[in-house]
């Protein structure tokens, strides 16, 4: 029941996943993740989820991991294991735990018995997903919420990285111009503490 | 009228907090008014049963009523509380805010004795803690933090089992409501009774205070304001005997019988233990704290004997000790104002300079050690008569404390007043203190020489308790 293509995909999936967690160069690991995502996208196609596959390629492989790469470069954090290792025995625990987890999950998965007559997926095309996604009875509000979430995330990312500029930009011009370290409250700087 | 008497102090306390400018005069006036109210209630009391009863549904669904009323014991203790608060407010040199707390606590204490609904009793029982803690917090000594912890922990740890017991006696017995009459009509039985009583026991033993749960008391008194006002209120807050008598025993008589032997032993042992130990107390407040533990041990012995005489004696001793112990605390507060220290060790020989103070101290001390003719004795005697019928050996053990009492009291008294003066000259009593002394001594003598005035109202209660236990006359 396992065809050759499927076996290949499985092999690729596991190999690339292992590469993600084991490669010492962070850039290589990110690239391995891209590979993994692409394989997954292929699997999606095979599983009649074509729209999802496309989004997977564009957003995940294309956008997200590239963002990762970008940050790795920005922080010059290509080498993976720098700095102290406080928990040297943890890999063993992790390996055992992962093995146990995998075993258990596989055990559960194998017990799953699919219904005899599965419904039609319509190839997972946008035509099939669209009505579900925009149906107010079904997922519409979740969609809107996710949109809002993305917006907030964008703002948050900017604020996190550049808090001072944001403060300066959004302060009403009537206020005196901020100087000095940003984390001091306003009153203290102008008041008695400075006089001393 | 009873509502007025109950809530007036709280109201006055709040007013005083908002307008501290009203000062001591205002506090004294309201205390006088409270005392007048309770005297009126005393005069009008029909002689038996719960008088001035009033009940309004509060949480009808849960069976909670705002129900108040006074029986003989409640009346006696109302008088004691109002008198002591008046004396304290009159005498103690404390900030106005302190007086406000005092008045607020007064309402809590009065509520404890007047509540006829178990939930409201619980409310007042706990609410009184707040002003006590505030006084300790704002006006306590340098190590007050520990004292506060100890006090609050003992009290609160006691309260939670009690809360469980409160619910147990209502819901496990199938009573209609939390009203005393409903609860007493259906005493809790079975194994639940043992545990419910234990719940009450822990809370009330802390407040009796019963050995070994008295351990919070010495540091509480040591750290409180030297004026003694907070100590006096703390003394009034020792409502354990009353609570056992009014609530725990009638509501869970079966549970009480389970624990009776142990309780008798603890009471008797504690009485002797504390009295003995008081002998080496390093300061007057510690001494008085242990003396209080000892007296309450005696009272508890009487009550736990389950005899009418014992119960009457216990309540009488409780009321009397509220007055004399509180007065004693206020008295040593005045001594402190003169000498700046309360240690027992150095010889001060104050009698030569302050003979008035000496005489007052003598009266208080003698009342405290149960000299016949003063207020401590009738209660002790009745306790003895009741307890001896039930547990002669334990009674012997407990009453060894009368010897120890003479030893600790007279020894400390001798150092403070007698022998050659080794301290600077101090002034004798001023007019304010003379008034205090007059009233106090008058009450001590009245309670000692004509106990009938109060025991007449306690007797029916004692008989009812005796009847609960198979009614030996």
């Amino acid at each position: 029941m396992i065809g050759p293509w499927e076996a290949l995909a499985l092999l690729l999936l596991v190999a690339s996943a292992l590469a993600v967690v084991r490669l010492q160069n962070a850039v290589h690991a990110a690239l391995a993740l891209i590979a993994n995502f692409l394989v997954v996208a292929g699997v999606y196609v095979a599983l009649e989820a074509r729209f999802v596959a496309m989004v997977q390629v564009i957003v995940y492989a294309g956008a997200i991991v590239v963002l990762f790469l970008f940050v790795i470069m920005l922080l010059s954090a290509a080498s993976a294991n720098v700095g102290p290792d406080l928990l040297p025995r943890l890999p063993w625990v992790a390996a055992l735990g992962a093995l146990g987890l995998a075993g258990l999950l596989i055990f559960v998965a194998l017990q799953f018995s699919p219904p005899a007559a599965p419904g039609s997926l319509g190839g997972g095309l946008p035509q099939a997903l669209g009505p579900l996604l925009y149906d107010p009875e079904k997922w519409l509000f979740a969609l809107l919420a996710v949109g809002f979430l993305l917006l907030v995330a964008t703002v948050a990312a900017v604020v996190l990285v550049e808090p001072e500029r944001i403060l300066t930009a959004t302060t009403h011009p009537a206020h005196p111009k901020r100087v000095g370290p940003p984390d001091l409250p306003q009153g203290e700087k102008d008041g008695k503490a400075v006089v001393k | 009228m009873i509502h007025l008497g109950l809530w007036l102090p709280l109201l006055a306390g709040l007013v005083l907090l908002l307008w501290p400018g009203l000062g001591r005069g205002f506090a004294v006036l309201t205390s006088l008014a409270s005392l007048a109210v309770s005297l009126y209630l005393f005069a009008e009391y029909p002689g038996e049963g719960v008088a001035y009863a009033s009940q309004t549904p509060f949480l009808l669904e849960a069976g909670v009523y705002y129900a108040v009323g006074l029986d003989g014991a409640g009346l006696l203790l109302w008088l004691a509380v109002n008198l002591v608060v008046l004396l304290g407010v009159w005498l103690a040199d404390v900030p106005v805010r302190f007086l406000a707390y005092t008045l607020m606590m007064q309402t809590g204490l009065l509520g404890i004795f007047a509540a006829q609904d178990l939930v409201f009793f619980y409310f007042f029982f706990e609410a009184s803690l707040i002003p006590a803690l505030l006084m300790l917090w704002f006006y306590g000594g340098s190590e007050r933090l520990r004292a506060i912890y100890t006090f609050a922990l003992f009290t609160l740890v006691g309260s939670l089992p009690m809360l469980a017991a409160v619910f147990a006696v209502r819901f496990l017995s199938g009573a209609e409501s939390f009203l005393y009459t409903d609860l007493a009509a259906k005493p809790l039985a079975g194994p639940a009774a043992t545990w419910a009583f234990l719940g009450f026991l822990v809370a009330f033993a802390v407040k009796t205070p019963l050995f070994p749960l008295h351990a919070w008391l010495p540091s509480f008194h040591q750290q409180n304001h030297p004026s003694g006002l907070a100590d006096a209120l703390g003394t009034l807050y020792k409502v354990g005997i009353f609570a056992f008598f009014k609530w725990a025993i009638p509501l869970v008589p079966e549970g009480f019988r389970e624990w009776q032997g142990l309780l008798l032993f603890l009471a008797a042992f504690g009485a002797l233990y504390a009295a003995w130990l008081a002998f080496s107390a390093p300061d007057w407040k510690t001494l008085l704290a242990y003396a209080g533990v000892s007296h309450m041990g005696l009272a508890a012995l009487g009550l736990f004997s389950g005899t009418p005489e014992g119960a009457v004696g216990a309540l009488y001793l409780l009321g009397a000790s509220m007055v004399y112990s509180s007065a004693m605390f206020l008295f040593v507060g005045r001594v402190y104002a003169r000498t700046g220290s309360l240690e027992t060790r150095p010889v001060r020989g104050l009698a030569r300079y302050a003979p008035g103070l000496y005489v007052l101290g003598m009266f208080l001390l003698m009342a405290m050690i149960g000299l016949p003719g003063l207020s401590g004795f009738p209660g002790e005697l009745m306790v003895l008569l009741g307890a001896y019928r039930v547990a002669p050996w334990l009674t012997f053990l407990a009453f060894l404390s009368v010897i120890a009492a003479a030893a600790y009291a007279l020894t400390a008294f001798q150092r403070l007043f007698q022998e050659a003066p080794q301290a600077q000259a101090v002034s004798d009593m001023d007019a304010r203190e003379w008034a205090f002394a007059g009233v106090t001594v008058g009450v001590l003598l009245l309670m000692g020489l004509y106990p009938r005035l109060f025991t007449a109202y306690l007797e029916p209660l004692g008989r009812a308790l005796g009847a609960l236990f198979g009614g030996a006359s």
């Binding site: 943890l90 | 070994p212 003995w276 080496s280 003719g373 007279l410």
Partner: protein, 610 residues
């Protein structure tokens, strides 16, 4: 016996004096406050006498405490005591007006004195045990206040405290006795108790125990062995106090209590034996100690102890009226002896050591006369008062057992010796001090004259039956105590005993008179040094009881703090557990995540394998 409000007034008059002098004593000043106090006692005496002539009186306040009335009863027994207390009390009050002259606490003294009289009257008149107990502890309080009258001296304050505490041991016995009697009979009224005891229907052992408890009380108050240690120290108080409280009245309260409860004791051989033993021991112990003292007041104090022992023996052998008889005669001659000592002390400006006295018969002739009579009466010289009461005790002892009689004769020989020793050391020989002695003022002499008359004549109210003169006292008292019949000794035996005891006393007095004027032989000096210390009883008590008790108190205090720490330990346990758990909070992200993973695996495994 009539109900009358005059009876509480008998108690109330001295009490009024206490209140008046206590509050406004300084306004009265000296000597007015002394006279006020004395006259109030006299009024009390007269009123009591009047009521006694009316055939007694009672007064009851039905419900004083639940089931306990406040009742007073004046019957023949309490009447005799009342006469002694107020009569002798009045004389000593008057005497004190002179003795306390110029003391800064003059009015305070008389206020306490009146308090004592009031409490003592309550003790005597009370018909309900709690009322008696009020008086019982009241006299203890008065005694405490008066022993420590000059409280700025540490010794005095200590002695006062000691007296009170030791008395409290006895009081505990009294209290427990009340508890037991209440649980047996459900009443504490003495007259009702007497009826109920007659009716029977109780456990005899309990009755013995009740009697024992009361005996403990009596032992404490009357300073019998083993609770006698407070009485010699009580001499720290002013001399009138010693005369009134620690000789004539208060210390006899224990005897009175036992006589009052004769109905409990008379049928109980165990208790009787115990009382006899206690009394005999005390009589001999007191006598021996007295022979070794140098302080004039301690000499007399120990003689009191010895005489109280005689009274206990009388109670023990069942001669209740004799015990009261001896109380009466003793009150006279012992008060006289104390006040004579007081006069001497007064004359010498406060000197109390007999080694710096002597020869007083030349300087103080009147006081010497008083002393002579007191000595003779105390030594049992026929026909003075002391002889008749002591002889009666001896006679009854013979009825109890000739061996007891023999021992009592020894005790009375010792009594004669200590009396004459006191007399010789004070009044004979050469004056060994420096002060210039002066005779006392009239206000101190007249009470002594009267007491002297009493010490000589009061014995004739209770002559033995063999003498053909009406015994007034016995039938009078028996009406109140109850008649507990004794076999009367044969006339011949009685006469022989009388002659023997009279002869022995005279011989002892004569021998002592010569012996104590000579220098002391060695054996006597050795004996004296032990007797001076009261045969080390105090030291033994301190080592065995008092000090361990004090140390234990300190240990308990530490233990109590430990108790709190123990409760703190409970809290610490929780805190410790918290600390232990807090160590899991390493802050290391991967550590937490590992926990998460392990937990996830475990949960899954549980879900899968369940």
């Amino acid at each position: 016996m009539q109900e009358t409000l005059l009876l509480p007034l008998v108690v109330g008059l001295p009490l009024l004096g206490f209140a008046l002098l206590g509050l406004w004593g300084r306004r009265f000043g000296e000597p007015a406050s002394g006279w006020v106090a004395s006259l109030l006692v006299l009024a009390s005496f007269l009123l009591g006498f009047y009521l006694l002539l009316q055939g007694g009186a009672r007064w009851t306040l039905a419900e004083w405490l639940p089931g306990i009335p406040f009742s007073l009863r004046l019957d023949n027994l309490s009447g005799v005591m009342l006469m002694v207390v107020t009569g002798v009390g009045f004389l000593i009050h008057v005497w004190a007006i002179g003795y306390m002259h110029a003391d800064p606490g003059y009015s305070r003294f008389f206020s306490y004195f009146n308090l004592f009289i009031a409490a003592m009257l309550l003790l005597v008149l009370g018909d309900s045990l709690p009322v008696v107990f009020i008086g019982w502890e009241g006299v203890g309080l008065a005694s405490y206040l008066l022993i420590g009258f000059w409280y700025t001296e540490r010794v005095n304050a200590d002695s006062a405290r000691k007296a009170f505490i030791v008395n409290r041991i006895g009081d505990l016995g009294f209290l427990l006795g009340m508890g037991l009697l209440w649980s047996m009979f459900g009443t504490l009224s003495i007259s009702e108790l007497a009826h109920k005891v007659e009716e029977g229907g109780y456990s005899f052992a309990s009755l013995t125990l009740a009697g024992f408890f009361l005996l403990v009380g009596a032992i404490g108050k009357s300073a019998q062995v083993p609770l006698m240690v407070w009485l010699p120290d009580a001499m720290a108080g002013p001399t009138p106090v010693s005369a009134l409280i620690h000789a004539a009245t208060m210390v006899t309260a224990g005897v009175y209590l036992l006589v009052r409860h004769a109905f409990l004791l008379h049928a109980d051989p165990f208790l009787s034996g115990l009382i006899v033993a206690v009394g005999l021991l005390t009589a001999i112990y007191g006598a021996l100690c007295s022979l070794g003292q140098w302080d004039i007041k301690r000499i007399v104090a120990y003689t009191t102890l010895s005489q109280l022992g005689f009274m206990f023996v009388a109670v023990g052998v069942g001669a209740y009226w004799v015990a009261i008889f001896h109380i009466v005669t003793h009150a006279f001659f012992k008060a006289l002896m104390f006040m004579t000592s007081g006069s001497v002390i007064h004359a010498l400006g406060g000197e109390q050591d007999v080694r710096r006295m002597g020869g007083m018969r030349k300087y103080l002739p009147v006081t010497h006369l008083h002393g002579l009579v007191a000595t003779a009466a105390s030594g049992g010289l026929i026909p003075l008062a002391g002889f008749w009461s002591k002889d009666a005790i001896l006679a009854y002892s013979f009825g109890y057992g000739p061996w007891l009689w023999a021992l009592m004769v020894i005790a009375s020989v010792l009594a004669a010796l200590y009396s004459i020793r006191w007399y010789v050391l004070v009044f004979w020989g050469e004056y060994r001090g420096k002060e210039h002695p002066h005779e006392s003022p009239a206000v101190m002499l007249w009470p002594n004259h009267i007491l002297m008359g009493g010490a000589m004549g009061v014995g004739f109210i209770g002559l033995p039956y063999v003498i053909d003169y009406e015994n007034f006292l016995e039938p009078f008292l028996v009406r109140a105590i109850g008649d507990f019949p004794h076999e009367k000794l044969p006339v011949l035996t009685e006469w022989v005993l009388i002659v023997l005891s009279a002869t022995v006393a005279v011989l002892a007095l004569l021998w002592g008179f010569r012996f104590f004027q000579q220098p002391m032989p060695d054996w006597y000096v050795r004996f004296q040094s032990a007797a001076l210390q009261g045969f080390y009883v105090d030291a033994i008590y301190n080592a065995l009881l008092v000090n361990p008790a004090k140390v234990l108190a300190g240990l308990l205090l530490g233990g109590d703090r430990g108790l709190l720490a123990g409760f703190g330990g409970l809290g610490g346990l929780v805190g410790g557990l918290g600390n232990l758990l807090a160590r899991l909070e390493t802050g290391a992200l991967r550590f937490y995540l590992a926990g998460l993973l392990v937990a996830l695996v475990l949960l899954l495994a549980w879900g899968v394998l369940r």
